[in-house]
């Protein structure tokens, strides 16, 4: 049995203890403050700024003064004659990039794993990661020059086989292929590392056992290596689904031109032109919000799947 005053004292003591604990936390919170403030200004305020998507926004009136127009901007967006094409381009380019960024790095990792000469192995690894660290401005400069129909080295090379020069960057039949292949060219080395790390963690005794049982090399690859890599393959597949609307703004922006809008214009470049060139803030924000919401659904679903099936946690 507990007396009322005793209970009260316990509560006061607990309150006191909580206060002390909180005081010990204060330096930790102070440390976080600069980052918290910067994120608040440059990430949280823009987050609330999405209300512009529901306004006829005028810079002179600001967010608080502009008139609300409901879903008019979204209606205008979906009515745009190019919207369906742009959405299709985005999903197609992003999806193809995801597929090739799984297949190519897996194959390269498997082949690198077979190379026993350490000098070759390290050398090749060092070189294939390098393009990843170049910006798309630089790579744009390189590819615009390289793929030029009259002076570009690539068309000269094709000419050796009797192929007529192709204007890759101004041809709607070729442009998506150029985007996908140059993206893979830049990033497959980066993807290879993850799979190579997974390969080296496979228990070597499995291979020894298989060799004793007389399994050929390709059979070992099929029955030991690939199953051993499966968790990481599943994980990478799932996580990359979050990027289904991310077709690569930097790359497209540095390689495209009006002649290839039909095949290469994506949501992000459309948003940029609508908003910052044509100054249609409301419409562009609506497009941005549409993109964010769809991406969010994909990201949350993919992280949920990743957590469920492979115990993946970011934090």
């Amino acid at each position: 049995m507990q007396l009322p005053w005793k209970k009260k004292a316990g509560w006061a003591m607990r309150k006191q203890a909580r206060k002390v604990a909180f005081r010990r936390e204060i330096p930790l919170i102070v440390m976080l403050l600069p980052s918290v403030i910067i994120l608040f200004i440059f990430s949280y305020i823009p987050l609330f700024g999405v209300v512009i998507a529901f306004q006829r926004y005028l810079p002179s009136l600001g967010v608080l003064g502009s008139r609300f127009v409901g879903f008019d901007n979204f209606r205008d967006l979906f009515m745009l004659p190019t919207f369906n094409q742009v959405l299709w381009n985005t999903v197609y380019i992003a999806f193809m990039k995801i597929v090739f960024m799984l297949v190519v790095p897996i194959i390269v990792a498997l082949l690198l794993n077979e190379a026993k000469n350490q000098f070759v192995k390290r050398g090749v690894q060092t070189i294939i990661y390098m393009p990843f660290f170049m910006s798309w401005v630089i790579l744009g400069g390189i590819f615009i020059d390289l793929l030029s129909p009259s002076t570009g080295a690539f068309n000269n090379f094709l000419g050796l086989f009797g192929i007529e020069p192709i204007f890759f960057l101004a041809d709607n039949n070729w442009f998506p292929t150029v985007l996908i292949s140059t993206h893979v060219w830049r990033e497959f080395g980066f993807g290879t590392i993850v799979f190579l790390a997974a390969l080296t963690s496979i228990d070597p005794s499995l291979y020894e056992a298989a060799t004793v049982d007389g399994a050929a090399r390709w059979k070992q690859t099929w029955h030991i290596t690939l199953p051993g890599m499966m968790p990481i393959i599943v994980l990478m597949t799932v996580l990359s689904l979050g990027g289904i609307l991310n077709a690569g703004f930097d790359q497209v922006f540095n390689l495209y031109s009006p002649v290839v809008y039909e095949s290469g214009d994506i949501l992000d470049t459309l948003i940029y032109r609508m908003g910052l060139i044509n100054m249609r803030f409301g419409l562009a924000t609506a497009a941005g919000l549409f993109r964010s919401v769809v991406s969010l659904v994909f990201i949350v679903t993919s992280y949920w799947l990743a957590a469920k099936y492979s115990n993946y946690r970011v934090l």
Partner: protein
């Protein structure tokens, strides 16, 4: 392991090496072509004669670039940008990673802050509200527009935090018993041990800021404020869709107006810093990446 030396196996190994070396060449040839063009004579470049080796070797393009005031102005902006961004971003990364690396028993409100950092990682207001906020804060045409908006990099914080977590608890407990504060523990216990990962993150920040060009385009009105990559994007890699009407011939003419060798030289110079720090970057790359992204 028992090595099988069948003919089929030997052929495979041979082809494998050939393939891997071709793959590496594929990655490096476009850059070699760029260098060769930059060192060739104008006429050879325009005639499309240059492959992997300079034709009519000349350093004209580089001496031209050395006299290009715009190029040096942009280079100076980039250097300032990297110089200011590195200390600020390192400070923010470390001061955010330290508290977030604590267990809930020491830092009860940690989940709130974790949520605060994660929310803006998965959901953003998009380009337009971001642009409006930065311009309303008054950063247009200021170098701070290139530094502050992206100063908190959650990936770097996660990387650093995971490293801090690997440091034995006994070290900080000993420091606390001796009466050290959190700030002091961070500065005198955590930082000295974490120098390798701080070096890694520094390299990431340097490369990130060196390569970033989009903020220069949207936040800078005056071209003399452009960082190098933005200068290259607007003046050299002139394939600007907003300036041409969509006429195929106009684009063709525009692409063929030949400053080919000087363009190549400027692009190549912009690559040099990345090429120089690449060997160091690569050394930390694998460990850094695997710590940060994929655990078990």
């Amino acid at each position: 392991m028992v090595q099988d030396k069948s003919t089929a196996r030997r052929i495979f190994v041979c082809f494998n090496y050939v393939f891997l070396i071709l793959l590496a060449l594929l990655c490096i040839l476009p850059m070699i072509n760029l260098l060769a063009v930059s060192l060739s004579s104008r006429s050879a470049a325009e005639a499309g004669l240059v492959g992997l080796w300079p034709v009519h070797f000349t350093t004209y393009a580089y001496s031209w670039t050395m006299q290009n005031a715009e190029f040096f102005q942009a280079l100076w902006v980039s250097i300032q940008r990297v110089g200011i961004a590195v200390p600020i971003q390192l400070f923010l990364t470390i001061t955010a990673a330290y508290p977030l690396s604590k267990e809930r028993s020491t830092f009860k409100h940690r989940p709130i802050f974790v949520a605060y950092f994660i929310i803006v990682m998965v959901f953003s207001g998009g380009l337009i509200p971001f642009f409006i906020v930065v311009s309303r804060v008054g950063l247009i045409d200021s170098i701070w527009a290139l530094i502050l908006p992206g100063a908190v990099n959650t990936w770097h914080i996660i990387l650093m935090m995971n490293f801090f977590r690997g440091i034995p608890k006994e070290l900080e407990e000993a420091a606390f018993i001796d009466g050290a504060s959190h700030w002091r523990t961070m500065a005198q216990i955590y930082l000295p041990i974490s120098l390798p990962s701080i070096a890694t993150i520094t390299l990431f920040i340097v490369v990130g800021h060196w390569n970033e060009w989009f903020h220069g385009i949207i936040f800078m009105n005056d071209p003399s404020n452009y960082p190098l990559q933005t200068y290259l994007r607007t003046r050299v890699v002139t394939f600007d869709p907003t300036m041409i009407t969509g006429d195929r011939e106009a684009i063709r003419r525009m692409m063929e107006v030949s400053n080919r060798t000087t363009n190549a030289a400027q692009v190549f110079i912009a690559m040099i810093p990345v090429l120089l720090i690449y060997p160091f970057l690569q050394r930390y790359f694998m460990s850094g990446l695997t710590i940060g992204s994929v655990k078990g």
